[in-house]
Protein backbone atom coordinates (compact mmCIF):
# COMPACT_ATOMS: atom_id res chain seq x y z
CA UNK A 1 0.00 0.00 0.00
CA UNK A 2 1.16 3.53 -0.65
CA UNK A 3 1.39 5.66 2.49
CA UNK A 4 -1.44 7.84 3.76
CA UNK A 5 -1.62 10.42 6.59
CA UNK A 6 -2.90 7.56 8.82
CA UNK A 7 0.55 6.03 8.74
CA UNK A 8 1.79 8.89 10.92
CA UNK A 9 -0.88 8.54 13.60
CA UNK A 10 1.17 6.57 16.13
CA UNK A 11 3.66 9.48 16.49
CA UNK A 12 4.60 10.10 20.14
CA UNK A 13 6.00 13.60 19.43
CA UNK A 14 9.21 12.40 21.09
CA UNK A 15 11.41 14.33 18.65
CA UNK A 16 13.88 11.50 18.12
CA UNK A 17 13.58 12.03 14.35
CA UNK A 18 14.52 15.69 14.70
CA UNK A 19 17.35 15.11 17.17
CA UNK A 20 19.09 12.77 14.71
CA UNK A 21 18.52 14.93 11.65
CA UNK A 22 21.62 16.31 9.86
CA UNK A 23 19.54 19.03 8.19
CA UNK A 24 17.92 20.21 11.42
CA UNK A 25 21.36 20.61 12.97
CA UNK A 26 22.30 23.12 10.26
CA UNK A 27 18.85 24.61 9.66
CA UNK A 28 16.57 24.68 12.73
CA UNK A 29 13.62 25.62 10.48
CA UNK A 30 13.46 21.99 9.29
CA UNK A 31 11.69 20.13 12.08
CA UNK A 32 10.62 16.61 11.07
CA UNK A 33 8.54 15.85 14.20
CA UNK A 34 6.64 19.10 13.76
CA UNK A 35 5.74 18.17 10.19
CA UNK A 36 4.61 14.72 11.33
CA UNK A 37 2.61 16.37 14.13
CA UNK A 38 0.79 18.56 11.59
CA UNK A 39 -0.10 15.43 9.60
CA UNK A 40 -1.49 13.67 12.69
CA UNK A 41 -3.59 16.76 13.44
CA UNK A 42 -5.14 16.61 9.97
CA UNK A 43 -3.24 19.73 8.96
CA UNK A 44 -1.68 18.32 5.79
CA UNK A 45 -2.58 21.53 3.95
CA UNK A 46 -0.42 23.52 6.37
CA UNK A 47 2.49 21.09 6.17
CA UNK A 48 2.66 21.17 2.38
CA UNK A 49 2.83 24.95 2.40
CA UNK A 50 6.12 24.80 4.30
CA UNK A 51 9.15 25.12 2.03
CA UNK A 52 11.17 23.15 4.57
CA UNK A 53 9.66 19.81 3.41
CA UNK A 54 11.91 20.12 0.34
CA UNK A 55 15.03 20.33 2.51
CA UNK A 56 14.78 16.68 3.58
CA UNK A 57 17.87 14.90 2.26
CA UNK A 58 16.02 11.53 2.32
CA UNK A 59 18.83 10.03 4.42
CA UNK A 60 16.28 7.81 6.25
CA UNK A 61 17.95 8.41 9.63
CA UNK A 62 14.59 9.53 11.08
CA UNK A 63 12.78 6.43 9.82
CA UNK A 64 15.52 4.21 11.30
CA UNK A 65 15.38 5.98 14.68
CA UNK A 66 11.60 6.23 15.12
CA UNK A 67 10.50 4.14 18.14
CA UNK A 68 7.06 3.81 16.51
CA UNK A 69 8.56 2.72 13.18
CA UNK A 70 6.88 5.60 11.37
CA UNK A 71 8.36 5.97 7.91
CA UNK A 72 9.14 9.65 8.39
CA UNK A 73 11.14 10.07 5.17
CA UNK A 74 8.34 8.41 3.23
CA UNK A 75 5.67 10.58 4.90
CA UNK A 76 7.65 13.62 3.75
CA UNK A 77 7.64 12.20 0.21
CA UNK A 78 3.86 11.90 0.51
CA UNK A 79 3.70 15.59 1.50
CA UNK A 80 5.95 16.58 -1.40
CA UNK A 81 3.70 14.64 -3.78
CA UNK A 82 0.63 16.51 -2.48
CA UNK A 83 2.45 19.83 -2.78
CA UNK A 84 3.55 19.01 -6.34
CA UNK A 85 0.02 18.04 -7.40
CA UNK A 86 -1.40 21.23 -5.94
CA UNK A 87 1.19 23.33 -7.76
CA UNK A 88 2.96 24.27 -4.52
CA UNK A 89 6.34 22.70 -5.27
CA UNK A 90 9.48 24.71 -6.07
CA UNK A 91 10.37 25.24 -9.75
CA UNK A 92 13.12 22.62 -9.77
CA UNK A 93 10.55 19.85 -9.19
CA UNK A 94 8.41 20.79 -12.21
CA UNK A 95 11.60 21.05 -14.29
CA UNK A 96 12.67 17.56 -13.19
CA UNK A 97 9.18 16.25 -13.89
CA UNK A 98 9.29 17.58 -17.48
CA UNK A 99 12.70 15.99 -18.10
CA UNK A 100 11.62 12.61 -16.74
CA UNK A 101 8.33 12.67 -18.66
CA UNK A 102 10.21 13.30 -21.91
CA UNK A 103 13.24 11.06 -21.45
CA UNK A 104 12.24 8.58 -18.69
CA UNK A 105 15.53 9.62 -17.08
CA UNK A 106 16.63 12.52 -14.91
CA UNK A 107 19.91 12.90 -16.82
CA UNK A 108 19.22 12.17 -20.51
CA UNK A 109 22.27 10.96 -22.42
CA UNK A 110 23.49 13.04 -25.37
CA UNK A 111 25.55 12.11 -28.42
CA UNK A 112 28.43 13.99 -26.82
CA UNK A 113 28.11 11.87 -23.66
CA UNK A 114 28.10 8.70 -25.73
CA UNK A 115 31.17 9.83 -27.69
CA UNK A 116 32.96 10.40 -24.38
CA UNK A 117 31.89 6.94 -23.21
CA UNK A 118 33.14 5.26 -26.37
CA UNK A 119 36.48 7.03 -26.06
CA UNK A 120 36.78 5.64 -22.53
CA UNK A 121 35.94 2.14 -23.76
CA UNK A 122 32.38 2.06 -22.42
CA UNK A 123 29.31 0.89 -24.36
CA UNK A 124 26.90 3.37 -25.94
CA UNK A 125 23.70 3.94 -23.94
CA UNK A 126 20.54 4.22 -26.02
CA UNK A 127 18.26 7.13 -25.26
CA UNK A 128 14.80 5.92 -24.37
CA UNK A 129 13.01 6.52 -27.68
CA UNK A 130 9.59 7.93 -26.85
CA UNK A 131 9.53 8.40 -23.11
CA UNK A 132 6.91 6.29 -21.36
CA UNK A 133 3.23 6.76 -22.12
CA UNK A 134 2.19 5.36 -18.71
CA UNK A 135 4.47 7.76 -16.89
CA UNK A 136 3.20 10.75 -18.86
CA UNK A 137 -0.35 9.70 -18.11
CA UNK A 138 0.20 9.37 -14.35
CA UNK A 139 2.21 12.56 -14.06
CA UNK A 140 -0.15 14.41 -16.38
CA UNK A 141 0.60 15.86 -19.79
CA UNK A 142 0.94 19.59 -19.81
Amino acid sequence: MLLSPNDAQSCLKCGKCTSGCDINRLDPSFIPHRLIHLVTMGMVADSISEYSIWKCSTCFTCSERCPQRIKVTEILWMLKEKAFKEGKSPDFVSKQSEIIKTHAKLFPISDKDNARRQKAGLPVIEEYPDGLANLRQILGDK
Binding site: M1, L2, I23, E64, F92, I100, A120, E126
Partner: protein, 284 residues
Amino acid sequence: MDYALYLGCAIPIKALKYELSARNIAARFGINLIDLKCFTCCGFPVKSMDNLAALYLSARNLVIAESQGLDIVGLCSGCVATLSEAIIMLEDINLRKEINGLLKKEGIGQYKGILKVRHLAKILSKDTILEQISNNISFDLTNKCLAIHYGCHYLKPSEAHGKLEDVNRPTSISKIVKAIGAKEIDYDLKSQCCGLTMMSADESIAYQLAGSKLKDIAEKGADALIVACPSCCVAFENNQKIACKAVDTTLSMPVLYYTQLMGLAIGMSDKELGFEFNRVAFKW
Protein backbone atom coordinates in the same frame (compact mmCIF):
# COMPACT_ATOMS: atom_id res chain seq x y z
CA MET B 1 27.87 -15.40 -11.73
CA ASP B 2 25.61 -13.40 -14.11
CA TYR B 3 23.86 -10.18 -13.12
CA ALA B 4 21.95 -7.47 -14.98
CA LEU B 5 23.96 -4.25 -14.61
CA TYR B 6 21.66 -1.39 -13.65
CA LEU B 7 23.44 1.93 -14.22
CA GLY B 8 20.62 4.42 -13.63
CA CYS B 9 20.76 8.02 -14.86
CA ALA B 10 23.86 9.46 -13.18
CA ILE B 11 26.55 6.79 -13.66
CA PRO B 12 26.74 6.81 -17.50
CA ILE B 13 27.29 10.59 -17.53
CA LYS B 14 28.80 11.61 -14.21
CA ALA B 15 30.71 8.57 -13.00
CA LEU B 16 32.75 7.10 -15.86
CA LYS B 17 35.60 6.23 -13.49
CA TYR B 18 33.21 4.25 -11.32
CA GLU B 19 31.61 2.43 -14.25
CA LEU B 20 34.99 1.59 -15.80
CA SER B 21 36.56 0.35 -12.58
CA ALA B 22 33.38 -1.54 -11.61
CA ARG B 23 33.12 -3.35 -14.94
CA ASN B 24 36.82 -4.22 -14.95
CA ILE B 25 37.12 -5.38 -11.36
CA ALA B 26 33.91 -7.42 -11.63
CA ALA B 27 35.28 -9.16 -14.73
CA ARG B 28 38.52 -9.91 -12.87
CA PHE B 29 36.56 -11.85 -10.24
CA GLY B 30 34.25 -13.72 -12.60
CA ILE B 31 31.22 -11.49 -11.98
CA ASN B 32 29.52 -11.17 -15.36
CA LEU B 33 27.70 -7.83 -15.60
CA ILE B 34 25.21 -7.94 -18.46
CA ASP B 35 23.91 -4.76 -20.14
CA LEU B 36 20.18 -4.84 -20.84
CA LYS B 37 18.26 -2.38 -22.99
CA CYS B 38 15.36 -0.16 -21.97
CA PHE B 39 16.24 0.50 -18.33
CA THR B 40 14.92 3.89 -17.24
CA CYS B 41 15.12 6.09 -14.13
CA CYS B 42 14.89 4.00 -10.92
CA GLY B 43 12.00 6.13 -9.70
CA PHE B 44 13.81 7.97 -6.89
CA PRO B 45 13.29 11.58 -8.09
CA VAL B 46 9.68 10.80 -9.02
CA LYS B 47 8.76 10.07 -5.38
CA SER B 48 8.45 13.83 -4.89
CA MET B 49 5.89 13.97 -7.72
CA ASP B 50 3.85 10.78 -7.60
CA ASN B 51 4.61 7.71 -5.54
CA LEU B 52 2.65 5.38 -7.82
CA ALA B 53 4.56 6.63 -10.88
CA ALA B 54 7.82 6.14 -8.97
CA LEU B 55 6.89 2.56 -8.09
CA TYR B 56 5.89 1.89 -11.69
CA LEU B 57 9.33 3.07 -12.85
CA SER B 58 11.08 0.84 -10.30
CA ALA B 59 8.87 -2.13 -11.23
CA ARG B 60 9.47 -1.88 -14.96
CA ASN B 61 13.24 -1.94 -14.37
CA LEU B 62 12.84 -4.96 -12.10
CA VAL B 63 10.75 -6.75 -14.74
CA ILE B 64 13.31 -6.12 -17.49
CA ALA B 65 15.94 -8.02 -15.45
CA GLU B 66 13.55 -10.58 -13.99
CA SER B 67 12.26 -11.61 -17.43
CA GLN B 68 15.85 -12.51 -18.36
CA GLY B 69 16.18 -14.62 -15.21
CA LEU B 70 18.74 -12.22 -13.76
CA ASP B 71 19.25 -10.50 -10.42
CA ILE B 72 20.23 -6.82 -10.56
CA VAL B 73 23.57 -5.37 -9.55
CA GLY B 74 23.56 -1.61 -9.05
CA LEU B 75 26.39 0.86 -8.62
CA CYS B 76 24.39 3.86 -7.41
CA SER B 77 23.26 3.52 -3.80
CA GLY B 78 20.14 5.62 -4.47
CA CYS B 79 19.04 3.32 -7.28
CA VAL B 80 19.78 0.18 -5.25
CA ALA B 81 17.77 1.47 -2.27
CA THR B 82 14.86 2.58 -4.48
CA LEU B 83 14.65 -0.71 -6.41
CA SER B 84 14.98 -2.70 -3.16
CA GLU B 85 12.22 -0.68 -1.50
CA ALA B 86 10.01 -1.35 -4.54
CA ILE B 87 10.48 -5.11 -4.06
CA ILE B 88 9.10 -4.77 -0.51
CA MET B 89 6.23 -2.49 -1.57
CA LEU B 90 5.26 -4.92 -4.33
CA GLU B 91 4.69 -7.67 -1.76
CA ASP B 92 1.31 -5.94 -1.32
CA ILE B 93 -1.03 -7.92 -3.58
CA ASN B 94 -3.32 -5.03 -4.52
CA LEU B 95 -0.47 -2.67 -5.29
CA ARG B 96 1.24 -5.37 -7.35
CA LYS B 97 -1.98 -5.87 -9.31
CA GLU B 98 -2.21 -2.15 -10.04
CA ILE B 99 1.44 -1.95 -11.15
CA ASN B 100 1.14 -5.11 -13.24
CA GLY B 101 -1.85 -3.47 -14.97
CA LEU B 102 0.41 -0.58 -15.98
CA LEU B 103 3.17 -2.97 -17.08
CA LYS B 104 0.67 -4.91 -19.20
CA LYS B 105 -0.28 -1.66 -20.93
CA GLU B 106 3.37 -1.08 -21.71
CA GLY B 107 3.65 -4.68 -22.90
CA ILE B 108 6.80 -5.64 -21.01
CA GLY B 109 5.69 -8.63 -18.95
CA GLN B 110 4.54 -8.99 -15.38
CA TYR B 111 6.42 -8.56 -12.10
CA LYS B 112 6.75 -11.90 -10.31
CA GLY B 113 8.90 -10.94 -7.34
CA ILE B 114 11.63 -13.53 -7.72
CA LEU B 115 14.67 -11.31 -8.27
CA LYS B 116 17.12 -9.68 -5.90
CA VAL B 117 18.85 -6.31 -6.12
CA ARG B 118 22.36 -5.90 -4.75
CA HIS B 119 24.93 -3.11 -4.57
CA LEU B 120 28.18 -4.18 -6.24
CA ALA B 121 30.14 -3.34 -3.06
CA LYS B 122 28.13 -5.93 -1.13
CA ILE B 123 29.21 -8.58 -3.64
CA LEU B 124 32.85 -7.48 -3.87
CA SER B 125 33.16 -7.43 -0.07
CA LYS B 126 32.45 -11.15 0.23
CA ASP B 127 35.22 -13.06 2.02
CA THR B 128 36.05 -15.24 -1.00
CA ILE B 129 36.82 -12.17 -3.13
CA LEU B 130 38.65 -10.29 -0.38
CA GLU B 131 40.88 -13.33 0.20
CA GLN B 132 41.87 -13.30 -3.46
CA ILE B 133 42.56 -9.56 -3.20
CA SER B 134 44.75 -9.99 -0.12
CA ASN B 135 46.70 -12.76 -1.85
CA ASN B 136 47.31 -10.69 -4.97
CA ILE B 137 48.44 -7.32 -3.65
CA SER B 138 50.93 -5.73 -6.03
CA PHE B 139 50.72 -2.09 -4.96
CA ASP B 140 51.57 -1.17 -1.39
CA LEU B 141 48.87 0.90 0.35
CA THR B 142 49.86 0.02 3.93
CA ASN B 143 50.89 3.61 4.69
CA LYS B 144 47.55 5.07 3.57
CA CYS B 145 44.89 6.32 5.98
CA LEU B 146 41.48 6.15 4.37
CA ALA B 147 38.14 7.57 5.46
CA ILE B 148 35.03 5.77 4.25
CA HIS B 149 31.79 7.55 3.45
CA TYR B 150 29.28 4.71 3.28
CA GLY B 151 26.47 7.08 2.34
CA CYS B 152 22.82 7.00 3.43
CA HIS B 153 21.16 4.92 0.73
CA TYR B 154 23.92 2.31 0.77
CA LEU B 155 22.64 1.30 4.23
CA LYS B 156 19.13 2.70 4.59
CA PRO B 157 16.28 1.98 4.74
CA SER B 158 17.70 -1.11 6.48
CA GLU B 159 14.54 -3.08 5.75
CA ALA B 160 15.03 -2.62 2.00
CA HIS B 161 18.65 -3.76 2.25
CA GLY B 162 17.58 -6.92 4.07
CA LYS B 163 19.23 -5.70 7.29
CA LEU B 164 22.50 -7.12 5.92
CA GLU B 165 24.61 -4.79 8.04
CA ASP B 166 24.23 -2.57 11.09
CA VAL B 167 23.42 0.92 9.80
CA ASN B 168 25.35 2.48 12.69
CA ARG B 169 28.34 0.18 12.43
CA PRO B 170 28.68 -0.83 8.78
CA THR B 171 31.52 -3.18 7.87
CA SER B 172 31.38 -4.10 4.16
CA ILE B 173 33.61 -1.34 2.75
CA SER B 174 35.80 -1.41 5.88
CA LYS B 175 36.56 -5.04 5.02
CA ILE B 176 37.67 -3.94 1.55
CA VAL B 177 40.01 -1.30 3.02
CA LYS B 178 41.44 -3.89 5.40
CA ALA B 179 41.93 -6.46 2.61
CA ILE B 180 43.99 -4.05 0.50
CA GLY B 181 46.20 -3.38 3.52
CA ALA B 182 45.33 0.28 4.19
CA LYS B 183 44.25 1.76 7.50
CA GLU B 184 40.67 2.95 8.00
CA ILE B 185 40.36 6.07 10.11
CA ASP B 186 37.40 6.74 12.35
CA TYR B 187 35.82 10.20 12.38
CA ASP B 188 32.97 12.02 14.11
CA LEU B 189 30.80 12.82 11.08
CA LYS B 190 31.01 9.34 9.54
CA SER B 191 27.25 8.85 9.27
CA GLN B 192 26.53 12.39 8.04
CA CYS B 193 24.73 12.72 4.69
CA CYS B 194 26.66 14.08 1.64
CA GLY B 195 23.81 16.57 1.11
CA LEU B 196 23.53 16.19 -2.65
CA THR B 197 19.88 15.10 -2.70
CA MET B 198 18.75 18.39 -1.13
CA MET B 199 21.10 20.60 -3.15
CA SER B 200 18.26 21.99 -5.29
CA ALA B 201 16.27 22.97 -2.18
CA ASP B 202 19.10 24.63 -0.24
CA GLU B 203 22.62 24.85 -1.69
CA SER B 204 24.15 26.42 1.37
CA ILE B 205 23.21 23.51 3.65
CA ALA B 206 24.21 20.92 1.06
CA TYR B 207 27.71 22.45 0.78
CA GLN B 208 28.06 22.69 4.54
CA LEU B 209 27.22 18.99 4.91
CA ALA B 210 29.86 17.92 2.39
CA GLY B 211 32.41 20.50 3.54
CA SER B 212 32.18 19.68 7.25
CA LYS B 213 32.77 16.01 6.52
CA LEU B 214 35.80 16.74 4.32
CA LYS B 215 37.17 19.02 7.02
CA ASP B 216 36.64 16.35 9.68
CA ILE B 217 38.48 13.61 7.79
CA ALA B 218 41.32 15.99 6.88
CA GLU B 219 41.80 16.85 10.56
CA LYS B 220 41.89 13.12 11.39
CA GLY B 221 44.69 12.66 8.85
CA ALA B 222 42.89 11.00 5.95
CA ASP B 223 44.83 10.56 2.68
CA ALA B 224 41.61 10.02 0.72
CA LEU B 225 37.86 9.55 1.00
CA ILE B 226 36.35 6.29 -0.27
CA VAL B 227 32.82 6.42 -1.72
CA ALA B 228 30.29 3.99 -3.21
CA CYS B 229 27.72 6.25 -4.87
CA PRO B 230 27.91 8.75 -7.76
CA SER B 231 25.90 11.40 -5.90
CA CYS B 232 28.22 11.28 -2.89
CA CYS B 233 31.20 11.52 -5.24
CA VAL B 234 29.81 14.65 -6.88
CA ALA B 235 29.21 16.20 -3.45
CA PHE B 236 32.74 15.51 -2.20
CA GLU B 237 34.83 15.64 -5.37
CA ASN B 238 33.20 17.79 -8.07
CA ASN B 239 31.94 20.27 -5.46
CA GLN B 240 34.96 20.07 -3.16
CA LYS B 241 36.19 23.63 -3.61
CA ILE B 242 32.86 25.30 -2.90
CA ALA B 243 31.98 22.80 -0.13
CA CYS B 244 35.24 23.57 1.65
CA LYS B 245 34.65 27.29 1.24
CA ALA B 246 31.29 26.85 2.98
CA VAL B 247 33.15 25.71 6.10
CA ASP B 248 36.04 28.21 5.75
CA THR B 249 38.71 25.79 4.67
CA THR B 250 40.69 24.82 1.58
CA LEU B 251 41.49 21.18 0.91
CA SER B 252 42.73 18.92 -1.80
CA MET B 253 41.25 15.61 -0.70
CA PRO B 254 41.35 12.75 -3.21
CA VAL B 255 38.04 10.90 -3.60
CA LEU B 256 38.15 7.30 -4.85
CA TYR B 257 35.48 4.70 -5.50
CA TYR B 258 35.98 1.40 -3.65
CA THR B 259 36.30 -0.27 -7.06
CA GLN B 260 39.25 1.98 -7.98
CA LEU B 261 40.88 1.23 -4.64
CA MET B 262 40.56 -2.53 -5.10
CA GLY B 263 41.89 -2.38 -8.65
CA LEU B 264 44.80 -0.16 -7.62
CA ALA B 265 45.84 -2.65 -4.94
CA ILE B 266 45.98 -5.58 -7.35
CA GLY B 267 47.87 -3.68 -10.03
CA MET B 268 45.16 -2.88 -12.56
CA SER B 269 46.04 -0.06 -14.96
CA ASP B 270 45.06 3.60 -14.59
CA LYS B 271 43.02 3.27 -17.79
CA GLU B 272 41.09 0.25 -16.51
CA LEU B 273 40.29 2.16 -13.32
CA GLY B 274 39.39 5.46 -15.00
CA PHE B 275 41.89 7.50 -12.97
CA GLU B 276 42.03 10.10 -15.76
CA PHE B 277 38.57 11.18 -14.58
CA ASN B 278 39.55 11.82 -10.95
CA ARG B 279 39.34 15.54 -10.36
CA VAL B 280 41.55 15.79 -7.28
CA ALA B 281 44.97 14.59 -8.33
CA PHE B 282 47.02 12.31 -6.10
CA LYS B 283 50.40 10.66 -6.44
CA TRP B 284 50.66 7.43 -4.47
